[in-house]
């Protein structure tokens, strides 16, 4: 080997090595970034920065959760007794309410009397709860600043309310989105499975060569259509159809999302399932046919059982395609963050929520962190999906290669 040749090969090896390193690093960096931004949510109190919640010194409630706060300000909780405190009815006080309680004369032209008035008010009103900017809290404050509980993982996942921008206290319960995502995905699979399998079986077993060479690119073309186009199709065709068919007020429903996603999952499913069916050795088919089995008997008794794990892979990969899809679902599912268990009601999926809200958040804010935490949940979903594909593939290898 000449020297030039050796150097050349070193360079090529170096380029290959660095490319693969960069690729792997990028993936790791993105995951790290995702977790760093998302985990931040669980170390913060959900109140806005520089704002505090305060109560009277006589109040015995030690800490307060964001859900309780939300209930208080929504007037769902009206007495401290409900939170384990004294029997005082709750009096809410925010900056906007000040003018109703104190006159301008009382406060003075430059609000110089405000600290004193506020202290007096807090002293005489045991049921008060204040939501104020820190700068309005007097130095010798007569009340007590009550700590707000940090957001817990359980509240985040099982919380039923997603009001990321409400004041005084935003709420970050992602249960509605988890339910929405799972339902839309499940519906999509339910819709895509029979059609996808039938198409795959037809293409690999029944269609002649010529028909297959036409059908295969057509099905694969489905994968190349931009998802907004699917969303647009769903919005213009499916949504009104569903609305009319079921006599609904709005046609933007879980069902619409499921059908659109089902169509989008078809190409993955058909292609992978068809490959699985085709991978059944010719010798097994021949053995079956030689024993007097018909083509259909061979299909159902030999080919499909053999391709079972490949077919499961197809279904799971289709699920993966559906679960992360954003645009089309956003367009047809109606963007409702209420918990909904019906296929004929609006919902919103995790990716749709991130896409819809990320533009409105401030960098590093609680809402921003919450969206990243939502992304982590989605990421975990897809990890589970990918892992199950691997598990099934390995099991299949074992079964079909033994002996």
């Amino acid at each position: 080997m000449t020297k030039a040749r050796r150097i050349y090969e070193k360079i090529v090896t170096g380029i290959l090595f660095s490319s693969s390193t960069i690729t792997s690093l990028t993936v790791i960096l993105i995951v790290v970034f995702l977790f760093r931004e998302g985990i931040g949510l669980f170390n913060t109190t959900p109140t806005e920065k520089n704002y505090v919640i305060a109560v009277s010194r006589q109040n015995t409630v030690p800490v307060i959760t964001s859900n309780e706060l939300a209930d208080i300000f929504n007037q769902d909780i009206t007495n401290w007794k409900q939170l384990g405190g004294r029997n005082d009815s709750i009096i809410r006080l925010t900056l906007n309410d000040l003018s109703g309680i104190f006159t301008e004369e009382e406060l003075g032209p430059n609000l110089e009397n405000f600290p004193q008035k506020l202290n007096e008010y807090v002293k005489t009103t045991p049921g008060v709860i204040l939501y104020l900017s820190k700068e309005y809290i007097p130095k010798n404050f007569a009340g007590r600043i009550i700590p707000v509980k940090k957001i817990s993982l359980l509240d985040f996942i099982f919380g039923k309310h997603w009001y990321p921008t409400s004041t005084p206290i935003p709420q970050f319960g992602i249960w509605p989105m988890i339910v929405g995502t799972l339902m839309v995905t499940f519906g999509a699979i339910l819709f895509a499975l029979p059609f996808g399998m039938a198409t795959a079986i037809f293409m690999s077993e029944i269609a002649g060569n010529r028909l297959r060479t036409i059908m295969k690119p057509v099905v694969e073309l489905l994968a190349g259509i931009p998802s907004v186009v699917y969303g647009f199709f769903g919005l213009v065709v499916l949504v009104p159809l569903i609305q009319r068919l079921f006599g609904l007020d709005v046609g933007e429903t879980v069902l619409a999302g499921s059908i659109v996603l089902g169509i989008m999952a078809l190409p993955t499913m058909v292609t992978v399932a068809e490959d699985a069916l085709n991978s059944t050795p010719k010798s097994l088919r021949e053995a079956s046919l030689a024993l007097g089995a018909s083509e259909l008997q061979t299909l159902f008794r030999v080919v499909i059982p053999y391709a079972k794990s490949g077919i499961s892979t197809a279904v799971i990969l289709g699920t993966g395609r559906a679960i992360g899809e954003t645009m089309a679902v956003l367009m047809v599912t109606g963007n409702s963050t209420h918990v909904n268990y019906s296929f004929l009601q609006p919902t919103r999926t995790i990716p749709a929520t991130i896409a819809a809200e990320l533009g409105d958040t401030s960098f590093g804010g609680v809402h921003y962190n919450a969206l990243f935490a939502l992304a982590i949940v989605l990421f975990l979903f897809t990890i589970i999906i990918n892992l199950s594909v691997e598990v099934i593939k390995n099991r299949n290898k074992e079964v079909n290669q033994r002996g």
């Binding site: 097994l284 021949e286 053995a287 079956s288 046919l289 007097g292 089995a293 002996g403």
Partner: protein, 250 residues
Amino acid sequence: MTHAEVKNVNVWYDTIHALKDVSLKFEPNTVTALIGPSGCGKSTFLRLFNRMNDLIPSFRMDGTVMVNNQDVYSKEIRIDEIRKNVGMVFQKPNPFPKSIFENVAYGLRVNGINNKAVVEETVERSLRQSALWDEVKDVLKKSALELSGGQQQRLCIARALAVEPKLILMDEPASSLDPISTARIEELIFELKKTYTIILVTHNLQQAGRISDLTAFFYLGELIEYNLTKKLFLNPDNVQTQNYITGRFG
């Protein structure tokens, strides 16, 4: 009586003339070996009897193929009926990824026989006939893929026997097996001859010499010589046969 007969058969794949005007008769309870170099039409010939060639889209043929005095290529006859009467064993063991029991029972099940007693009896009989029963009788529920290659091939023979064919086609049944497994298969073929008519494709001339009663030598799609095995190997009528079996070409 003749058991199977081929009369003036020509086969084409597209424009390739794979079998040229071949006529042959097979007597009951004989083993006939088909020999010849690769691509000479042996396998095509073998697959005439259960119409497995029909699976190849470019396949065309004329002439008659008779099995049990039935015209195999007649329009009135159902293809699965023919295949039920003709068992086939393939080059590589190809058990289904099912249990040992279900492999043998497969032929019955696809033909609508599900009576438990009948199925169990047939499975046992077939496994005994293929000399596998003693090795597997306690593990019938195990996957067939856990058997050794030789056992798998005997299982495939049992599977073919279960539908009670008259004629058994074997396409190089021992070519992927070790010498000991091969010997067992050959013994088995010898046994099966008492009940069945066997047509066997083989690349292994010694094997043909050992187990067959009659041998047919094919070359370039033509039947060159059909003779008693002993005669064909010791004193062939045709000079091409002579050249082939002495290894001058092949």
